[in-house]
Symmetry: C2
Subunit: 451 residues, 2 copies
């Protein structure tokens, strides 16, 4: 299974350099479309194009190219060839490509397409990004309720080359209202004379065009579906979302949440291809916000300047105590954000979870307090050890409760809970940690002598 696309690309480049097109095509023989796409992405666009032109199933190969690479290649194609290729692509991939072309390319391409394809692109591209409508394809298999099983199978044989899946067929009436679903498995098991309305499952799990793609993906996973039919507000079938697209959405959303957890504002796409400017823009927000968040910690420190001057040993432990709250809080928020994203935990669980989190935080805080007071005793004295222990327990508890609550609060205000990122938690815990630590110190330690 260890295909190295680099090796293949080297062979391709050498063959193409010597104009040995057949040899290059030979090197790609037996490879699967996604592997061919990966190899072709490594050669120059105009050479990739020369090969693609001659490969069987080129629309499928082309559909596997990276989005950016598709657009780059599209510039190389003569207009008629591009139109033919685009015509052969699955409806959802075709629409995605079309939306990425610049207006000039779009205007050149449209007249070269068949009428049906043009309308399909217009319709599919009208849905907002991130909704079921933008994810779905219009290449699905339809049946009528009055058909016999034999007629249905004949109809599927006819539709098979175009439909994304014929394993699930959707039963619609004359107004395209979704009546039911029937699987190919049930069709081949049924008596040929039975009618579709006898065989179909009428209570279909479906989605609406305007729904969030994340909810669509979750429904497909929950019910282990091959495809989810999508209807408009009138209940008419307008497309399907297939399981493989749902897998891609789930993976994208996980990456998104992952990035947000570290304070990267939105997904940067494929990290390898991300530009310096993009990475900078996506990362700078929280980092700079944190700097200004420090105004509060700084004010706290300024307020307790005397106690610090009198007990410089406090400074040794300042980074540790401040970090501990942030670390414990990040753990809490990460557990919560992920549980909310997978749907394990919902709003009304908050109160129950808060009680448990407080207990866990108390235990974690006590353990860390034991460790830090040992260090404090070695470097300071028993009073310093006491200050550290009390501060650690309080700071960890505050951090955990903030970390656990913030995702719920954000969600309450219809914000993405994943924005409760490590840097945000750190900023909030910093300020509270400094104040708690120095306040406790000021109550226990002498103010003016050196302890």
């Amino acid at each position: 299974m260890s295909i190295t696309h680099e090796d293949i690309a080297l062979v391709l480049s050498a063959a193409l350099h010597n104009d040995q097109l057949d040899e290059a095509l030979d090197a790609l023989k037996g490879l699967r479309p996604v592997d061919i796409a990966d190899a072709l992405e490594l050669v120059a666009p105009e050479q990739a194009w020369r090969l693609l032109e001659r490969l069987p199933g080129r629309a499928e190969i082309y559909a596997y190219f990276d989005a950016d690479e598709q657009v780059r290649l599209a510039r190389e194609f003569p207009r008629a060839t591009l139109a033919r290729l685009v015509g052969e692509m699955p409806a959802d991939e075709r629409t995605d490509l079309f939306k990425r072309l610049d207006p000039k390319q779009q205007n050149e391409l449209l007249p070269a397409l068949a009428q049906a394809e043009r309308e399909d692109i217009r319709r599919l591209s009208s849905y907002e990004e991130g909704t079921a409508g933008a994810l779905m394809t219009s290449d699905y298999a339809m049946l009528k309720p009055g058909m016999t099983v034999a007629q249905a199978l004949a109809s599927l044989r006819h539709e098979a080359p175009d439909a994304e899946t014929i394993y699930q067929s959707y039963v619609i009436d004359d107004e395209r209202r979704l009546l039911g679903v029937v699987s190919l498995r049930d069709l081949i098991l049924a008596h040929p004379d039975k009618t579709i309305d006898q065989l179909m499952i009428a209570d279909v799990v479906s989605g609406e065009v305007g729904e969030d793609q994340e909810d669509i993906a979750k429904r497909i996973t929950r019910y282990d579906l091959l495809a989810l039919p999508i209807t408009d507000q009138m209940g008419c079938l307008v497309g399907i979302v297939t399981y493989d697209d749902a897998m891609d959405v789930a993976s994208e959303e996980a990456t998104d949440d992952f990035h947000k957890s570290a304070g990267v504002t939105t997904s940067v796409g494929n990290l390898k291809d991300a530009t310096i400017g993009l990475l900078y823009r996506k990362r700078v927000f929280w980092l700079v916000l944190l700097v200004f968040g420090n105004l509060f910690s700084g004010a706290g420190i300024a307020h307790f300047e005397d106690i610090i001057a009198a007990n410089l040993v406090l400074v040794f432990f300042l980074p540790l105590l401040v970090d501990s709250g942030g670390n414990a809080g990040s753990q809490s928020s990460t557990l919560m954000v992920r549980a909310m994203a997978t749907g394990e935990v919902v709003m009304k669980d908050w109160f129950k979870l808060l009680g448990r989190e407080a207990t866990v935080a108390l235990l974690l805080g006590c353990t860390m307090a034991a460790a830090v007071s040992l260090l404090g005793y070695i470097r300071g004295d028993s009073l310093v050890a006491l200050v550290l222990a009390l501060s650690m327990v309080s700071i960890v508890m505050v951090g955990c409760v903030i970390g656990m609550s913030l995702p719920f609060v954000l969600s309450k205000f219809n914000l993405d809970p994943a924005s409760a990122s490590a840097p945000l938690i750190t900023s909030v815990c910093d300020a509270s940690g400094v104040v708690v630590y120095l306040y406790i110190a000021s109550q226990i330690l002498p103010g003016m002598s050196m302890g």
Copy 2:
């Protein structure tokens, strides 16, 4: 689509309390197996069991229960009933359940099962957790190369009730060696007299029993497969992994990596059901390690005690500078860990990415330096502002380079890159940040006067 399982569970409990079993069963009519399972999980085990006994498709419903709930219910079942239920479950779910029972329950159950089921459980449970073998099912459809299409369809009609999918059939010889794969789509399109060896795709994408389940899931996603055949070392077919199991693996692995990113050592499973003890154990490791990591920061601070005493203003900015390195480093490592997990980035990209990361870090550092030096000038003077600016740039760059490199280093030593968690990065950046900051301060600021 908004089924509230709580409402259904309330209706169920009320009906069961009055011994109105038919009414309870009515409430579940029309619901899908996974929804019934969710509702039944909310009523008492012995009541859930009374209903389950009377429901059609109960093995499928039971398979959707949480793992813990399955085991809890299994204790309620009379042995013969449990055996019948287990016999009806898909092979992979059955094995998972069996492995979770305690030895006494296992020994009671085994004799009550049919011979074939017993052997299937023994064989499937012999594979190590986390491998393809532990994930696969033995319920797949097989064909012989000499069969005609008509014979193959007849055979599939016969196998359909047991196989997890008949949309992909696997062609094997008499020694069970995997020869090819044929889709139901191709079968129903082909002439009935054609033979399977003419129709099958001989170059099958497959996996080996010992492979990591994550690699299996990635392959299924990459090639958009419905199922991946799994072979032993001899190339003999021993099972298949279906796309829905691959989706579950991908989601689990993402959760795992997510938790690790916050220093939660391994997955805690379903957060809602996690006990206090489990949460404590999984979270305490990195938090306590961080406390001891502070020995280094503390030593750094102790070394520069004089410069701090002479310039107390330095303390105001200590938490900020230390956090900034950790935050920027966490961003780098999170981006990298996720890119490595999805396979976007591999080892040999390291050098190229390092150069880009250093540039991004320089830009981020300069922006943050501008912000912090403004604060430094307001609270201190221009020398303090200079110290802060230089420190910030250095600390952010060190943090980013550490954050980016650590996942690669861990992977080089065959450790999980996801262990490069925020707390670890924080610990490392703490110590280096303190030293960098105070060293720069000691070079620029006067040692004994108050600046």
